[in-house]
Amino acid sequence: MGLTKERKAVLEGLCKQFRRTLLDTLYSVQTGHPGGSLSATEIITTLYFEVMKVDPKNPTWEDRDRFVLAKGHAAPMLYIALAEKGFFPKEELKTLRQLNSRLQGHPCALKTPGVEPSTGPLGLGLSAALGMGLGAKIQGKQFYTYVLLGDGEIQEGIVWEAAMAGAKYGIDNVVAILDKNGVQLDGPVDQIMPLGDVKAKWNSFGWNTLEVNGHKVEEIYDSIQEAHRLKGKPTIIIAHTVKGKGVSFMEGKHAWHGKPISKAEYEAAIQELEGGR
């Protein structure tokens, strides 16, 4: 069963709202990573508002689904989603990256309700997620663990150590999503360190692979449902995305991995987002 028209519209509305909040937040604090937050908007929104069972009143509920933001620099979009869910007040978003804030530059599980585990140094998240999945299996728990990886991130060797382990132990309660936006800090992924045939690589490591347009909530939703049905192996959803999606002058530009937004840029971006391009 796919998304209903109504739910699709709700999720798309949230994505629009979150992009606007992201621009407001990053412009106001003059620090943080817009590009990778914008490419992950639909994925994070679909997970938190359609798929995952979580309880903002009880963030450490034992049977909750888990989300690991392996590409921890997209923290602002995660915080926006968590605030909307009610894990903490939305007003707190403007304290992002500031002294005494609960909202660290990269996710810290000890500080922010709903964040788990701490991430930032790239590559560790997939292994951590597999550990969580393994823990669920041993204890006969039903929750899923979702982990969002960047495509630059999978240049890290540990990702492939994890890929082998995921297959060996058949950790099929973990669903990985690859935010394949094609751009990393220094430039296009294809120039900095080409990944080759990503789908073939994951398949050969013993994973199920699915491919979606990572900006279509209905495709993301369907692929996650499909991943749930696939047993015996972990699944990775290769989500084709655009870095900086939604703000034309940021799209596909590595310069927007992480840089402060000027007043003129902010106004142009808002106009575009409000216009509902």
Partner: protein, 319 residues
């Protein structure tokens, strides 16, 4: 200590894990293809469903353990001490210590104890790294009885623990074994009034020998086993500094950043007295027989005696 006396520390560790695994179903064990060496193979044989040999991929091992700990399990991560620090270092800092996860890190073949494998496999900087991590408890047992107690305490304590494990048989120290092992509390193994020999791990035994040698020279040396390097028993060290007026620190580790550093930091602040350091100087060691290595790289009781004499000289010059 009936049953474990004289056994290699890693063997005691492996057997203790099996024992603990019996009553605690939450204990899980990870190894990176050295289970026969770390002796976690015993746990693997007893509880195959809770044993994960993840191959030669230490970083992934530590990060998976971090993940599983968040589901309520108590993972023990096992590899050689040198790889624990250098290969697992990132997940240990970024996941385990940062989030204060309930993960136990067992670094075996510590110090020079994997002697024949050479400097590539020696571990003489692990204490420096581990004790610089916020939230990390660092334990370096002196003998089999300490090892057993430390493993049990690692399970009881909720949070990250580093266990520094020796490869070989370590002489039992009766004065050590008739005292309870309390996390964060040093043990006074021998009283003395002229100087305090502070040691950890295998060097505790050497310090006891040194105290006997010093006695024949008319020097009354106190011996303290600091099995918990972090949190450090600064109170005990302060008392020793006050009562004996001089300290020698002995450890199977670089003289930079290990127990010596920890003691100097505490004593410099609380009650400054002359200190000397017995450990590996700023150098890589080499392959060879264990005892010969200790001899060549300055880790014998004779080296402790010499260091004690230096301290006594400085103490005398001040008086």
């Amino acid at each position: 200590m009936a049953g474990i006396a004289g056994k290699a520390m890693r063997q005691v560790y492996g057997e203790t894990l099996v024992e603990l695994g019996k009553s605690n179903p939450n204990i899980v064990v990870f190894d990176a293809d050295v289970a026969n060496s770390t002796r976690t193979i015993l746990f693997g044989e007893a509880y195959p469903d809770r044993f994960f040999d993840v191959g030669i991929a230490e970083m992934n091992m530590a990060a998976m353990a971090a993940g599983i700990s968040t589901t309520g399990m108590i993972p023990f991560v096992n590899t050689f001490a040198c790889f624990m620090v250098l290969r697992c270092g990132d997940p240990i800092r970024s996941l385990v210590a940062y989030t204060k996860l309930n993960v136990k890190l067992a670094g075996t073949y510590a110090g020079l104890s994997d002697s024949y494998d050479g400097a590539s496999h020696h571990s003489i900087l692990d204490i420096a790294f581990m004790r610089a991590l916020p939230n990390m408890v660092v334990i370096c047992p002196a003998d089999a009885a300490d090892m057993k107690a430390a493993t049990e305490i690692a399970v009881q304590y909720k949070g990250p623990v580093y266990l520094r494990i020796h490869r070989n048989e370590c002489p039992d120290i009766p004065e050590n074994d008739n005292q309870p092992f309390v996390l964060g509390k040093g043990k006074v193994l021998r009283d003395g009034k002229d100087i305090t020999l502070v040691a950890t791990g295998y060097m505790v035994h050497r310090a006891m020998e040194a105290a006997t040698k010093l006695q024949t020279k008319g020097v009354s040396a106190r011996v303290v086993n600091i099995h918990t390097i972090k949190p450090l028993d600064a109170e005990l060290l302060q008392t020793c500094a006050k009562e004996t007026g001089g300290i020698v620190v002995a450890e199977e580790h670089s003289i930079h950043g290990g127990l010596g550093g920890a003691v100097a930091e505490a004593i410099g602040r609380l009650y400054p007295v002359p200190i000397e350091f017995v450990g590996v100087r700023d150098t890589f060691a080499e392959s060879g027989d264990y005892q010969s290595l200790l001899e060549k790289y300055g880790l014998t009781s004779q080296h402790i005696v010499k260091a004690a004499e230096e301290v006594l000289k400085k103490k005398g010059a001040r008086a």
